[in-house]
């Protein structure tokens, strides 16, 4: 276990000052002669600059943080892979945390990242704007992915919020009352995705369409309400908390309380999974008895029988773009990137029976 060479060792061995070594290795100016010698010595000593010294000096840790709700959810796995791909190509480390969709855990993780002086963060937010205020106040460069945090409690108004979210999707500023956080984001075009799904089901003759949502699906719910048109049958909009159990309970409860529904839109792959399971348990055939569209395309969607019709959103791309955004934090950044979704018709939707 040999100890690593420091910049000082290189400087001595090359007969120059440490400043020169640092300059050469950071791409600063130096005469070709010394540059060559420093490079040679560094290679020969197998010198690798210590991130520790650099970080302390610049008072910031390189790389970026990444906060997702659950790595067991394939969609977030895809998103994480996208982030890691971008980080790898930049040679930057990624410190990751799993929030379990719990604002409290999220807060703790933010605190931990602050302690580490990680000043760039990509997050699928669980908490509301209030949870995130400390991070941006501390000067973190934050990029939200997949969803936006809810507005702070005092100004949370279901009506207005829904309108805001929809307007945001259109790239409009929602209102004179400023948005709580000014943080760029990379999200899918949930409104178009949900609308396409609902229209597709409508075209098949479905009238009683349910929505199965989870945490962070506010924009999708709003889009669903809009696509279905008023008045919305509130019993047909149900939520799970994010765990598989709760998703199953929600799906099962929905099917039992409303046997008259003929189609359901699942707001995420965990909910879609729950819907398939619950339907089977209740002897509902897909798509004969009930049609199903799932948000998120995941490899196993094709394995179900029938294969699941889905609204695909580019998880990997979302991660990659978010990482790009957080890295190029200099210059003007777009306030929000909206990626397209795609309806992939497989076999889980049929005409209304």
């Amino acid at each position: 276990m040999e100890k690593r060479a420091t910049i000082k060792d290189v400087a001595e061995a090359a007969g120059v000052g440490v400043a020169t070594v640092s300059r050469v290795l950071s791409g600063g100016s130096a005469s070709p002669r010394t540059r060559e010698r420093v490079l040679a010595v560094a290679a020969q000593l197998d010198y690798r600059p210590s991130a520790l010294g650099r970080n302390l000096r610049q008072r910031r840790t390189g790389g970026m943080g990444l906060l997702v709700p659950d790595l067991t959810d394939t969609f977030y796995g895809q998103l994480a892979e996208g982030v890691l791909a971008c980080a790898r190509s930049a040679g930057e480390p990624v410190v990751i945390g799993s929030t379990g969709d719990d604002p409290e855990q999220e807060s703790e993780l933010i605190g931990m990242l602050l302690e580490q002086s990680v000043d760039r963060l990509i997050a699928v937010p669980a908490g509301d704007a209030e949870t995130w205020a400390p991070a941006v106040r501390a000067g973190m460069t934050v990029v939200f992915a997949d969803r936006l945090p809810a507005p702070p409690a005092e100004e949370r108004d279901p009506q207005a919020a829904a309108v805001d979210d929809l307007m945001l999707l259109d790239g409009l500023s929602p209102a004179p009352r400023a948005r709580p956080l000014d943080v760029p984001s990379v999200v899918a075009d949930d409104r178009a995705g949900i609308r396409t799904a609902v229209r597709y089901l409508r075209g098949l003759g479905h009238r009683r369409i349910a929505f199965l949502g989870g945490p962070g699906h506010d924009r999708r719910v709003a889009a669903f309400r809009e696509a279905v048109g008023a008045p919305v049958d509130e019993e047909l909009v149900v939520f799970g908390t994010g765990s598989r159990d709760s998703a199953y309970a929600a799906a099962s409860g929905l099917f039992q309380s409303r046997p008259d529904l003929s189609a359901v839109v699942a707001g995420g792959n965990v909910l879609g999974e729950a819907a398939v399971l619950a339907a089977r348990e209740l002897d509902l055939r897909v798509p004969r008895d009930v049609s199903l569209i799932m948000y998120d395309d995941v490899p196993w969607a094709e394995l179900c029988s029938p294969p699941l019709t889905v609204v695909a959103q580019p998880g990997r791309d979302m991660g990659y773009r978010a990482a790009e955004l957080v890295l190029r934090s200099g210059g003007r950044r777009p306030r929000g990137v909206v990626l397209p979704t795609e309806l992939i018709v497989r076999g889980s939707c049929g005409p209304r029976r």
Copy 2:
């Protein structure tokens, strides 16, 4: 964007020296009086010790590294969740990397971690012992999870290697020629798991059983060979490279070249997915035409129809245990933890037609 308070600020505000503050906050000795005052001042200033300074001083980054092949693979998602759960309860950061099962990328990531002075690492190794030598030589505390790296090329002897692996599973030292790496590990009892699967299929009357493997499945293959008994029909043992495409190609090729096989054991969930897909594409009915057992239990195994019979391995536990091991790196650590597997019979296996 206010700047953070440093230990110096706290010391001045409390009228003590920085050394005292450091001691109080690190649990060192101090008089109750000063301790109380320091704590109060620290809280009032909202002081959080900077990990940067501490890291540089102790010449090591806290927390741990985590290297997995692919976060899109649900099993590794589970494993990562286990690691994160343990790390969170210890308040330690985790820097993650995805290797794509590529030794070269793995090497680069190890280099990056070294540069960050991360000295504790949990890895699902892609490269062989040679790839890992630099890490342990640099003094890293490494724990392997899910699999062990292959022995270095020069001494790689298929026969001997297989024997070694099997002996290792029994907890025996393989040979007088020492093992290349002395690194603790947390793995599933692949031998028992595969043996159970093969015996189960045998009991259903199957004789031509194939194995569909991927990278890192050496121990599983060896166990398969042992369970099937010599002579092994080599055409029935095929491999993918880790990507979904290659897994599909391997499965499809297997089914086409050997229509006489009646059962297949997939060495991992990606391979299982590929097998289901390929079988369907070729109009092979499961389990009527071909029985299927998949290694790894994943939520969607239950969604297939028929639901997949699987050998479950505790991915989350493996991650948690590995993290525990790497954290309690003091004291004597067990050389290897072997976790039990469980055959979960669902509907993808039937009697030989």
